[in-house]
Each structure stands twice: as C-alpha cells, then as structure tokens.
Symmetry: D2
Subunit: 394 residues, 4 copies
C-alpha cells in the first residue's frame, strides 16, 4: 500500500502499538474460553477469531513482508485467519468459524504474544520505510475496528443464552434525561466532503471532493429509546406504509416487533445489555436498529434520514450510537483502492450496504473522525446503530 498521507513516525507507532493491542486483550479478559470460541450467527465471529485475525493482519502484511527471517507462527493460520483477502489465498469459510475448537484460546494468546514481540523488535529496530509504517498504522486502525466488533458479537452471543449472562457488571447507572430535540438549520451550497489527507484515513474516505447540498435541517441528537418506544407503541411494526418494501418483508419474516435487544415481559419493556437485562432506559439513544427500522422511524416522525454528506457537513463526530444515513455505500469520485492485498480492505464491499456515520459507546477512543464511513447491510441490527432525523429546509 502506498498511503495517501504521511504515516505516523516510527517512534509514535512503537508507542501506540502495545497500547492498542493491550486494549484488545482487556476486552477479552472477562470472557471464558467458551465465550471466546462460539459463533452466534454467520455475521458474527468468535472472539478468539478476532484475536487471531487481527494478529494475522500484522503477521501477513507487515512481518512476512518487512521483517528479517520471519517464520509464520503456525503454517495453518494463513488459511484459518484470513478473513476475505483473495490475494493472500483461500479462506476458511466464515459461517464455520464457530467450529474451530483448536487452536485453543491459550494458543491464540501465545500467537498474539509472539507477533507482538516481533513487532516490538521491528518497531524498535532500524528505520522502516513509509510502506511498512503505513501498514502498521493501518493494522492499528483495523485492530480498533475489531475491538468494536468483539463487543457487538459478544453481546449477540450472550443475548441468545436463556440464562442472560452479563459480559461485565457496570456501576450505578442513573437513568439519563435526554436534552430536548432541536432542529438545526444548515445552508445548502457546495460542501467539501471526504478526508483532507492530514493524518490517517481509510481509502474509502477519499478523495476529498465537492458535493452540492440543498438547505436542510438536522436533529440536535439521535432519537432516544423513549421516542422510539412511541413508534413501537403506535404500531410502527404493524404499518407497512411506513416501511421500505424490502424492510417490511424482512420484518415480517423475522417477526420484528421492537429493536433487537428489547423484550416485553410482564407488561414491562426490558433491554439486554452488556451488563445483563435491565429496564429500558428511555433517555438514552435507541440502539441496535437496522437501516430499515431507522428509515421507518424517520418516516413515522415526518422526517427522513440525512445523507452522509449532510451528516458530514453538519454533525460533529462521536456519540453513543452509529447513525444510519440514507446513502448507499459507494466509491467517492476518483476512488482508487490501494494496491496489493489491502486493496481488498474496503472497495469490494461497495454494494448493497448503507453508510453509518459518527461512532458508538463501543468505538475505541480516538478511532472515529468526521469523515469516517462505517457501513452495514440494511438488515443488520447487532451493531450499536441508531438514528438521527433530518428534513428538507422549510
């Protein structure tokens, strides 16, 4: 990969590498070996797989190319932990990741330690070129993406267990009162969209280009669970006129009646969280919505989703939930994927997915930015995804 920006300095990367890698380990620490081995659905992966795959990324794209005399930790891992890089070779089938009892968690942790030690030696050693440094930096951002996926996947797995186990206790958690929703007007005109090349960005945030916007208004915050509850209780899941045709078909087939982790029991709405099941917290942003639900909610509310351009133009980054936009995930004008295997990182997924903007409670600090483009299929609900309303200027 020839990065479009100057990568971080080697010393800075040497400092960040162990911190970010340890963060991943900390996320897995509360989990048992069994928690780490199971796969709850084809879309999700076992935690153990995340731990190994992120390591595979450094081994394959950095150590095997730039380290002196690096021998792979295990010859079978090149195949087992390749997610989707055809350039690297064949891949173990994704829906079967939960069939791998071996390597055991301990062996995967040893794999992490082994690669970390070699990475440390490399980063502390002779000066590396920009390509190597750029790949290390990419690997760290990749690692952070998987940190969020670990939480989403574990939450999904535990939610299916009738024992309703908690991932982690959390402390006292007073119900929040959300600020009143306000509409913020934004002028139209030509906006600059995409990353300007200062610091790291994924290839899909580039090239920076100009887009013509009409005047619009955007909500001051995402919708809360309390607001969404009104949609549910006023029959939102039973009124086809509020839904995209495909969304209605999916909602009927999968018997959706509320967001993924909401449960109605004994007259009370509860929500499964990483701390176990709890009463619904009306003041917090509603989460775990599909694009279809976000779209139907917006229609019900007499509004619409923002485009990703409106969002980038208007909103700051960061927040408690990713925010669905109405924009299909596609290439920016002039987009070119990176050369080599990492060119498969983003571009080949540019079909039939929708863009989410912002960040969530599960996003590692410092990972997101205003131009960041997250993306998932319209029916995906297990991410920390919510909805912010927009509307045309009056």
């Amino acid at each position: 990969m020839k990065p479009d920006h100057a990568p971080l300095a080697q010393g800075e990367l040497a400092a960040r590498y162990p911190l970010i890698r340890k963060d991943t380990g900390r996320l897995a620490a509360p989990l048992t070996p069994e928690d780490c081995a199971l796969q709850s659905m084809p879309d999700a992966s076992p935690v153990k797989w995340h731990l190994a795959h992120t390591t595979w990324f450094f081994e394959t794209f950095v150590l095997q190319r730039f380290a002196v005399r690096y021998a792979p930790f295990h010859p079978g891992f090149r195949y087992l932990f390749n997610s989707y890089y055809n350039t690297v070779g064949e891949q173990y089938p994704r829906p079967q990741r939960g069939l791998l009892s071996r390597p055991a968690l301990d062996e995967v942790l040893a794999y992490r330690a082994h690669v970390d030690e070699r990475m440390r030696a490399m980063l502390d050693g002779p000066t590396l070129g920009d390509e190597a440094l750029g790949l290390v930096e990419l690997g760290l951002h990749h690692e952070q993406q998987h940190q969020e996926l670990i939480l989403a996947d574990v939450k999904h797995l535990l939610s299916l267990n009738p024992l309703e186990p908690a991932y982690a206790a959390d402390g006292a958690h007073p119900a929040a009162a959300a600020a009143p929703l306000e509409w913020r007007a934004r002028d139209g005109g030509v906006a600059d969209i995409g990353h300007d090349g200062t610091g790291f960005a994924f290839d899909n945030e580039q090239p920076r280009h100009r887009v013509l916007l009409a005047p619009f208004e955007i909500a001051s915050r995402p919708a809360t669970s309390g607001e969404y509850l009104a949609f549910v209780e006023e029959g939102g899941y039973r009124r086809p006129e509020l839904w995209l045709s495909e969304g209605w078909a999916v909602a009927q087939a999968q018997r959706w009646e509320a967001p993924l982790y909401w449960r109605h029991r004994d007259g009370e709405w509860r929500e499964f969280t990483l701390a176990g099941a709890r009463p619904l917290d009306a003041g917090r942003p509603v989460s775990h919505l599909s694009h279809f639900e976000a779209d139907a909610y917006a229609r019900w509310a007499g509004a619409r989703l923002p485009t990703e351009f409106e969002w980038e133009h208007a909103a700051g980054a960061g927040g408690e939930v990713w925010e669905w936009t109405s924009s299909s995930y596609g290439p920016y004008p002039g987009y070119r994927p990176a050369a080599g295997a990492v060119g498969e990182y983003n571009g080949k997924f540019m079909s039939n997915q929708y863009v989410l903007r912002g960040s969530s409670c599960a996003t590692p600090a410092g990972h997101a930015r205003r131009t960041y483009r997250n993306f998932f299929p319209s029916g995906a609900r297990w991410q920390f995804s919510g909805v912010r309303l927009a509307r045309d200027a009056a």
Copy 2:
C-alpha cells in the same frame, strides 16, 4: 394522485388507450394458454398475470373511483391481481402466481375486454378531472412497463425448456458490425437532473435538482457481445479481484460462467433469443447482464460504470439494452411519493437496487426518456440489461 404535471387531454388519452392496450394483446398472441400460465421463478410472473394485473390497475384506480356504478368484473380479482399495494389490501403471494390455472386465459381476455369497454365509455363520456386523467395516463405507462416485462419473463420461461422453443420467428438477421468504441469527454460542473415537468414522468424522476459533476468520459455505445466475450475468455468469471465481494459470492453460488443466455456447446458460443437458440452475434450489445457482471466487466476494461447523473447529462435515451449505472436507487432531494395507493408505485423500492438508464429492444416505442430511472437488484439478469463504460477525465 395529484400529478405534478398537466395530464394529457382526455381526447388524446381516449385515442392512446386502445392502441397501447392492443399492443399488449399482440405480445401475448404468439403464446399458448400454457405459455401464459407458467411462472419460471419468483422474480418473473406468468403472462396471464401481467394481462390481468394491468387491467386490475385501471379497474382499481380508475373505474372503481371515477366510473358511475362500476361493479368489479370478479370479486376475487382484487386480491389475486394486486401486485404490492398494501393500501388496496392483501396480496396473493408473488411466488405462487404460477399456481393459478384459473381464471383461464380466455377469462382474463374477457376481463380485459370488459374493462376496456368501460374505459372507452368513460373516456368518451363527460369531462374528467385531472386526477382521473392523470391516473389513466399513469396506467398506460404502467401497461408499457409490463409489456417489456412480458418479453423478459417469456424469454426466461422458454429458455428453461430443453426443447428451446422460439417465441417468434424473426426474419433474416445479418450479423451487425458495431461501430468502433469512442470515448466522449464531458465537462464537469453543475448539471440539472430530473424531469422538468413537461409531459409525463414517474414520481421518482422528480424533483428536478442540481448535481455537481466532475469531468468524465463516457463510451459512445454499450459494450458488444464480442467485447464481453474477451472478458469471458480471459477468465473474467474466475478472477475474484475483478468483482465486488457480494457479486463474486453470487457468481460462485450460482455457477455463472457467462451471461444468462449464453451457452457453450461443441466449441461454439450460442445465445438463446426470443427466436430460439442462435450463434452469438458479436456485433450486438451484450445483454442480460447483472449489475455485478457489468461492474466486473468495467473493472476488467480499466473503466467504471457511469453514475446515473453522468449518464443523464451525457447520453441520449434509447437503445438496444438498458445500461447499468453505479447509482443506488434512492430518492431525489425533496422527493415525495404520490398520495394514496399509487404512492406505493416507486418510493418503497428505494433500497438495495441499482439504476439502469436508457431503454431496450423490448421497450415500447415512446415509453422511455432521458430522465427515466429503471431499477433492479444487483443480481438480476433476466432483463435486457447491458453496460456502457465511463471513466474519470484524464
């Protein structure tokens, strides 16, 4: 429906109605009752169903609302021939349209005659208001859309028959030599996109709005079968790096090796056509491509698909194949579906489909226009769909 434009005059509609309706009958004329009753896949419909549904459209949206003392031809048809209008009521399941041996073709033709007679009386009678006239006009455009679908669906049905029956003989058909492909440069800047309200347009072509384009180049004609054959023969269907990830998965699962109706037998490429199987005609536009194949072909050719805005800005309408664009099918800024049941015509399908522009050999004369937006899912191959290349300005 409150049409956005002034509908055609009543006299003009009275003249056009019987012509367009007869065109539909002419398309069905070469077919046996069995040809008209079968459904080859859930995406397709029996011809008999098309004949009845287009009639249902006039009966439900025009006669039942605006005719004096109109009694439905058959009480069960409201349910049987409702395609997807939730506002009208429940619908007979689409994948089971091929299970209806009754009503027989004769009865459906009698249904057509009955509605046509009442429509004639109405259009020849007292002056109608704009809403009624607008719905008649919409119904005629709707009828023309189904004329094209009849050909696509019949072709698919006959193609599955090992006897390779022909829909219709065609005359002498000398192989065409395509003109050499040229690149046409277009300046960027602000372009006006969408229908200007003069004459009929579907709601999805509106509102007219401005879009900022970068300079680009677009091919002078769609790719030919001969050009596409080079892609096939150079391993285009075996090289994942040319494909979108989802497209590759579909192509593998469905074992695609060439366009839908191409067959390789005894060392020769043949193509199933409405006139039966024939040697591949290298000079004609390649047809029956999915969006995935069009996209992979463009990548192989070192080019890309045009956006629908580039297409509208640069190309004239009309041609032998619909042309896939890179644009996901979504609402134009400020889009509002029509009020009432016909509001379900277009808007609710604005997810996970891609826009095709132009028209095809199966499109009725006068139906298409420069701002017309056709749309299908990425994997659809049974439409008369091809590919025109584009690229960024050098």
Copy 3:
C-alpha cells in the same frame, strides 16, 4: 422383464388397451390446458406430464423394443418424460415439470394418439412373445396408477386457488351415515402373504411367503370424518404425547391443525373436494391423512395401525380411502426386482416409506387387489389416504 406369471393373452390386451387409455383421456377432459400444465408442488406432476409419461412408457418399453421400424414421436421426449429410470438415461428434473409450457397439451394428445395407433397395430398384428405382452400389461397397470395420481394432483392444484374451482360437478350427494364401528377378532398363526402368481401383480407383492401373526382385532371400517373431528376438537393437533417425534416436528413446522383439505371458517368445518368446497361430511371416511396423523389418531383412540400383514390377512380389498399400515415399505424375503429398466419400478423406493393397503374412490375399477402394496412417505397428505384401527387381542 420376465414376468413371474403368464401375461394376459394378446387378444385380451388388445381389447383392454384402448379402454384404459381412453379412461385417462376422460379424466383430463374437464381440464383446461392451463390446469394440465401447472405443478403445485415437487411431489405432484402436471396432468400433461402424466399424459405424456404414461405414453412414454409404452413407447420406450414396448414400441422401441418390439415394434418394427418404430421412430420416436419426438427425440426430446425420451429425456423430458422419463420419470426415474436411470437405465434409460438422464431425467428432466422432477421439481421443474411445471416449467414446460411446450409441448402444448394438443401436442401431447397427438403423442398419445400416435403411440396408441402403433400399439393397436402391434397388438392386432403377429403374435408377440411373453416379454412384450408382459410389458404391455405392466404398462396398463402403470397407466391406472397415474389415473389416480392425476386426480390427487389436480385436487391439490385446485385447492391452492383462492377461487376454489371445482374439477367436476357431482350430483346430489346425500350425507352418508356410517355403520357403527365394530371390532373383528382374528386368530394368530402362520399366514400366507403376497401374491400367488395367478394373474397380474407388481414385483413388490412377491414372493409369496409365510409370516407369523399374533391374534389381533381390526376395525370393521375406516375411521370417519366425524370420528376424526373428535380427535381434532379434543386437541389432537396440540398434544405431542400422541405423536411420533418426527410427526410432531412436521406438524408444527407446517402448522397442521386438521386434515389437508379441511378448513374452519365462520365456525363451520368445510372440506375442499373435487366438486369444490363443501360442508364436512361426517359419515364418510376421513381422507388425506399423513401416516403421522393416522398414527396419532390411532394412539388417541387407544388403538394402533394394523401391520400390512394383518391387513392382508383380515381385510378385503377396496374402499373409499387407502389405509395406512404400520409397516415400513421393504422387500419381501427373496424379493428380486425385474431385470432391465423396469426393475427400477418398485425396488429402489424401499426406504423411508410406509405401506398403504386397499384402494380409494380415485382408484380405477379392477386395479387393486388384496395383496396390493401402495406406499408413500410419512408426511404425504395429498393422496386419498385414511386410517383403519387395529389392536392386540385382549
């Protein structure tokens, strides 16, 4: 095939052939071309296919082998209308029989006439050997089996049509009062089972052999719809303890609540029949039961199904419904399939099916006999299948 018995004399076959073939035509006479072309599910076949396949049987097994200079009516039919004879060649896929709009019904009827004419000439001609005569006789019994299948398949197809069309009007039909159910005791001991070789029998009814039976009792008639209704109304479809495990799973997955053609509307039980929908006739034998339902009903009634040996030992043949037995369909001791292609007629289906005995209202006169073994999978409901109770001797 070397028949185990002396076939009928040539003159007798020459007399029977046209009568039985005409019976088939009579069954199809009330049907439209569309009725004859559609396939309602993979288990069923279009009537047109039955008409052609039975003709194919005579063409392939008789005319092509024994007629002088016989040229096939159409070269493609050998493939299209081969049901399951691997020895003859590949077969057109069964679930796609409903995709064949061509040959049209008229052409299939011409195929029948062509083969019938050649068969007539052959049977009226020089003396044929036993092998040829045996195959003609087999073909006529085969034809009669398909006569019953035509009625079962048409009933299923029409039952799925919301218009509830009738296959044929039937006359005044006074509700029958069933005779009281009586228990008939039978001694145990060694019973002779299977066909004795006098006259025609299928290979699966042979060899005749001896079976040891314990004393048992068997009902004087099959269960009526009225008796079965008590099972339904006492929760028979909601009590897993009455069902085989697999039956319960199927009943839940397919949401069974009553026999296939029963419908509960506005507080009344109705039944779809070949004469259209009618009030349930409590006095007639319950029909269209799966093996699972027959078994559950017997358990609910404190009884069991008879074995096929008990049935043959005790019952006479003939009746209004086929009667499920508890016997899995397998070979009799010493069973040998016929040599050649017709050896695929019965033997290869001897797994995971259960035997039905007797005959039904749809069975052609003279077709069944006491040793006849009909067989279907446990979940099949679209045949004219009911239940007769049995129990161990006190």
Copy 4:
C-alpha cells in the same frame, strides 16, 4: 416407570453408579473447554451438553422424585438440558446447543459433582423402591449411550478442523489382517426374538415374541475397509443402479465419494480417526457408513443386509462397528412404552429410522447385548456404523 424386570439391588447400583459416571468424565478429560462447547451440526451435541444432560436425567427422574428436600442445582437447567421430554416441559432448541457458552465447563462439572454427591447419599441411604432403583439403572444405561455419542460427536467436530487435531494419541497400532470372510448358513423356522426379561433391557427390546425366518446365510464378520475400497474404486458412488433412490439423491446432493472420514490425497487414501489422520487400514471393519451406503455395498457384493431378526438369531453381540440391518425401527408386537416421562425414551422415534445391531469400538464395556436395538436415520454417517452381508439360502 414400572420396569419389566427386577432392577439391580441397591448395593450393586451404589457400586456401579460412581464407576460409570467417572467413565464419562474420563472421556471428557482430554478435551479443552472449547472442544466441549462446540456443536458441529444439528445432529451432534456439545460434549458439555452431554455431561449436563446425563446429570439432568438423574436430577429430574430420580432426585426430584425420590430424594428428600432436593432443590435443583440451577433453576434454568430443567429447560436447558431437557433433550426431548415434552412431559417434563419445553426444551431448548437442539440446533442451538452450540450457542451456550454458559454454564461454563467448570460449572457443569460442579453440577455433576453436586448430583453425584446427592445420588451417593441416596443410594447409601434407606432402602429404595423398585421404581426408583429401576430409574437409577435406566439412567446408568442412558449415561453409557451418551458416552458413545460423546466420542462420535467429538470425532465429527475435530474432523472439520483443517488442523486435523487428535482427540487422543493411541499406541502402536499394527495394521490388522482380517480373517477371510466366510458364509455361515442358518436354518429357518420360528425364532424367539427380543429380551427375555432377565436383567436390564430397554423397552424397545420387548416383548419377546416369535418370528418366522426363512433359511439364510450371514457373513462371518463385517466388511473391511479393504473390501469397501474395492466398491469405491469400481465406481460404487457413481452407479445409481446400486442405490436406493433416496440414497442416490442424498449421495449426489452431499457429494459423497467415500465413507465420511475417508480422504483421498496425493494418490493415497487416508482416514480421520480419534488419533488424527492416518493411512487407511484395509484390514479393519469399514466404519461411518450410512444405511444407504451399507445397502448399496451389499447390492454391489451380490448380497443384502440381514434383517434384525436374522442378525439376532445368528450373530453374537459385540464388535468394532454397529451393523446396519434392513429392518425399519418399529415396535415389537404388543409393545407398550413405559408410563410417565421416560415413556418418551424410545417409542416416539419409531419412524423412518433403521436398526443397527451389535456394538462398536466406542460402546462401553457391558452396555450392549444380543437383543439391543440401536437406530439412526438412513443418512446418518457419523456413528461407528458398518455393514455385515447376508443372503438367502441357496
């Protein structure tokens, strides 16, 4: 349950209980927590589930009914570890057993210890009645059945892992030379079949009854891998005339080319075993055959499968592989399931399965007997199942 035989004395059960329970623990000892948590297919269960379910059996059927003041170890386990007893209550869905990361293996082992301690106290305590003792005895046989399932399920799980892990090393294992196959003639006549009530038997082995057999011959040993290899290499998996129709369809759909764990690599046949992958051992009995394969092999060999009655009459029990018979699994004449929940143990599975006789290398010592009836569906291959030939007397 009112056992049909006198159960073992309380002292004898007190002695056997800990031995058999420890055997189960020993089987799990070589496995990691991840090995124990995964489910490789819906037919198989995680080892952890086996460990818990067998414990649940004693807790539910013995302790909760006969122990003084027994409180369940965990209130959720009644639901989680109920396999299929509708009488006890609803069941956690079988295909989702691999989604339970909790309870952890440690907690399941604590559950076992808890129940074992209470069982010990009970068996060492005051005299128990026959019903309680009979259920303890049943529970121990049930435990032994799951011991074999643990090995079958673990083998299947590990076989899917590209790393080809071994369950356990085994020692030097010289290739065996099988004795030549001999045919043993048996007279026909009336044979006594089923258990005589001396000692333990499952309800499905009873009542003892008489069956009439024709003279037959049976092989002196099961077929070896070497013999089966000849079938494979002579095209056995490509010749439909050797197969039952349903078996051929399954074999084609699942692309069978050899027994489940055979692999052809680099010109050599290898076999996955509990000790990892090894060269095929031609002298040992072929294992992991489906009923369909056993049947096809027998047909190829000019023989047939024995009936379960022939097997019981002729063979001794015990061996290295279970032996498929031609007998569908059904009730013996006069069969009555046990009263209460354990009545669901056997009877409700008597449809669409075939009987295997004997025992295998994975069967605990002392578990099997001559009258033992094992049963699986025709397509099941992951059991230790082989084939012994039979034929009619000349």
